[in-house]
Amino acid sequence: MEARHPTRDYVREEVLPTTFCPGCYNGIVMNAMALAFKELGIYDLRSYVFVSGIGCASWIPNPYLKADSIHTLHGRAIPVATGIKLAKPSLNVIVIAGDGDLASIGGNHLIHAARRNMDILVIMVNNLVYAMTRGQQSPTTPQGFITITTPYGNFEKPFDISRIIVETNANYVARWCIVNFPQLKESIKEALAKYNRGFRFIEIWAPCITYVVRYEGKTAGGALKEMSKKCVPLSDYEKLPMEKRDGCIAVGVFKKELKPSFIDLYKSYVEKAVGGVNGI
């Protein structure tokens, strides 16, 4: 039997190859997602809708995934996803977008969807820059990073976006580096199955291969090796003294809960007000 890459079952083969740069970590994100679906026994994505904004990561679902997907405006994936979920709560709505999209221009939507515990899964591929427009400094660019708009190093403090979402009403928050493939896959499975309600947020630390990794004169492999040293499990990270935390990336599941979601609360609200409504 011909060997077949597991991701291909979920990908529109007629639009391959992807537009990603050679070595781009977006492919790893695609694989993690595909394997998560496969291991959960989900082969038919008909009850799933993928929503993305503008940026490199937003290309993962649209046009490549064999599922309904909508490529929206820069930063506006979450409001569109919210609309879809409210119109048809039986759909599983997944947002896949980048840090430039979700943490920058769409930052407001992100925190408010999290505050509402809106029933969507948000996968944020954090490539540390605005990669699609050639790697300008973004709100997630670490201090000291050399980018095309910060030729002598970024002096602004970045967001720790997962920490921000932990502080909201979100049900599930996890962060993984692209080197933590098994954990990432398990995390996606968890957010799709066991913790399938409320706002679920998975941040994936995946530096842009072109404008971060190669821009710093590193190779894709070398960057992965370096990254695996930098990734520290959350429990170990918290034991580190403050001065040693610099440059480390805390990875793990920050939060997993099954609090009532927006849809749950909305249902009971409608129930209380008018005794329920069709379709919800």
Binding site: I54, H74, I105, Y130, R134, Q136, P139, I148, T149, E156
Partner: protein
């Protein structure tokens, strides 16, 4: 010919693309604040400019904001505090700025913005058309369109002078075609810095305004020594009156654009028509096209070839779209049999915005040419010389039968 104050041999030739030409122009304009957000095909402008800032080549404060809405907001704040400000954007970025565009013009803040023209979504497209610029036509901004990178450089510098002119005090958008100009290398002549400084009269000069509660004239800027409340609630009692100076300023802008074009000619030896309209072989023409932006180059080239074959055709390039030069267009095209209006963008359910303006220009004149609207180049579709010839031949046919059978035509689209 008059010898320019800075002859060509004293100007520096730089091989730059359109975006870089704008960045180099802004570098020389003593700009206090630049705030912008990356968007293709504008990005190079601010990228290049951030390099000047980082290298200490300019004293500008550069703010890498988190969205275009914030970019325009930051420019409004800076300009209201008296700063000379610049930003640039394209397509969706411009659309996101929309509500702020009206604040900038309504508060009479002379912000300069380079709009690198790109098609609006959906579907997503990063290439050139004028749908973004048409979207802001009613926002009270002066809109200038350039044909090449040299003009992008020249016009960016002129834009500060036009915007800050005491009789104008309005924001100016300099439109250059995405990719066709923004990403194409060209040799551009640049002035020495001090000549640009002299042309602009140094840093931004503020106009004075009488303030009743202070009972004196003060500079129009946010200044704790002379506190002003700007942008306050203004209902049916005064709002209408406060819009009238904007109407007047727009009327005066045409003359200022023309005068600045003349001054530029004296300084550099370069001018673009009369500053408002740049025409080619219109005098004896039977068929003329009106066009905006870089396509004018193709149209002029094809017109010159057709002239050799004996067809009397001409080209009008509008350099200024807002305020619209109604009487100038009417005067220039008096006696022409047929005029083709070329729009790189359209108002769905209507015609191209440029066509509507040209119709208005001719409505009251007795000698009205026949008008045909050609929509071309949406989403960056190239206007080839063959398509340009198709337009001219179509106009010649219309002139022959003296009748327009189809007012709205689409050029270069597959059926």
């Amino acid at each position: 010919m008059l010898k320019p104050r800075v002859p060509l041999e004293e100007q520096k030739v730089m091989p730059v693309n359109g975006d870089e030409a704008v960045a180099y122009a802004v570098k020389q304009c003593l700009v206090d604040v630049v705030a912008a957000y990356p968007i293709t095909p504008q990005t190079i402008i601010v990228e290049k400019f951030s390099e000047f800032v980082a290298n200490g080549e300019v004293k500008t404060q550069y703010v890498p904001v988190e969205s275009e809405h914030s970019a325009m907001s930051a420019c409004i704040g800076a300009a209201a505090a008296g700063a000379r400000t610049f930003t640039s954007t394209s397509a969706q970025g411009l659309a996101l700025m929309w509500e702020n565009l009206y604040i900038a013009s309504g508060l009479r803040l002379p912000i300069v913005m380079a709009v690198v023209n790109r098609a609006l979504s959906a579907p997503i497209n990063i290439h050139c058309d004028h749908s973004d610029a048409y979207g802001m036509r009613d926002s009270g901004w002066i809109q200038l369109f350039v044909e090449n990178s040299q003009e992008a450089y020249d016009t960016t510098i002129q834009a500060f002078k036009i915007a800050e002119h005491p009789e104008v005090q309005l924001p100016v958008a300099v439109n250059l075609d995405g990719f066709f100009l923004s990403h194409t290398l060209e040799n551009v002549y640049m002035l020495p810095d001090e000549e640009v400084h002299r042309f602009l009269g140094g840093y931004r000069k503020l106009v004075k305004t009488y303030v009743d509660y202070l009972n004196r004239e003060v500079e129009y800027k946010l200044d704790p020594a002379n506190p002003l409340s700007i942008g306050s609630l203004d209902l049916y009692d005064y709002y209408f009156e406060h819009k009238m100076p904007q109407v007047e300023a727009m009327k005066k802008a045409s003359d200022v654009v023309r005068r600045v074009n003349e001054e530029w000619y004296e300084l550099t030896g370069r001018s673009y028509g009369d500053g408002v309209i740049d025409s080619y072989a219109v005098e004896d023409a039977d068929a003329v096209v009106i066009v905006l932006g870089s396509s004018a180059g193709t149209m002029k080239y094809v017109a010159s070839l057709m002239r050799q074959k004996g067809f009397k055709v001409g080209v009008v390039r509008l350099r200024m779209f807002r305020p619209f030069p109604f009487s100038e267009v009417r005067e220039l095209l008096k006696g022409v049999k047929v005029v083709g209006v070329m729009d790189r963008g359209l108002s769905f359910g209507s015609y191209g915005p440029l066509y509507l303006e040209v119709n208005t220009a001719f409505y009251y004149s007795k000698e009205r040419p026949l008008l045909v609207n050609y929509i071309y180049g949406l989403g960056g579709r190239d206007l080839s010389p063959a398509m340009a010839e198709e337009v001219f031949m179509d106009l010649i046919e219309v002139a022959k039968i003296s009748e327009v059978r189809e007012h709205l035509k689409f050029i270069g689209v597959r059926s």
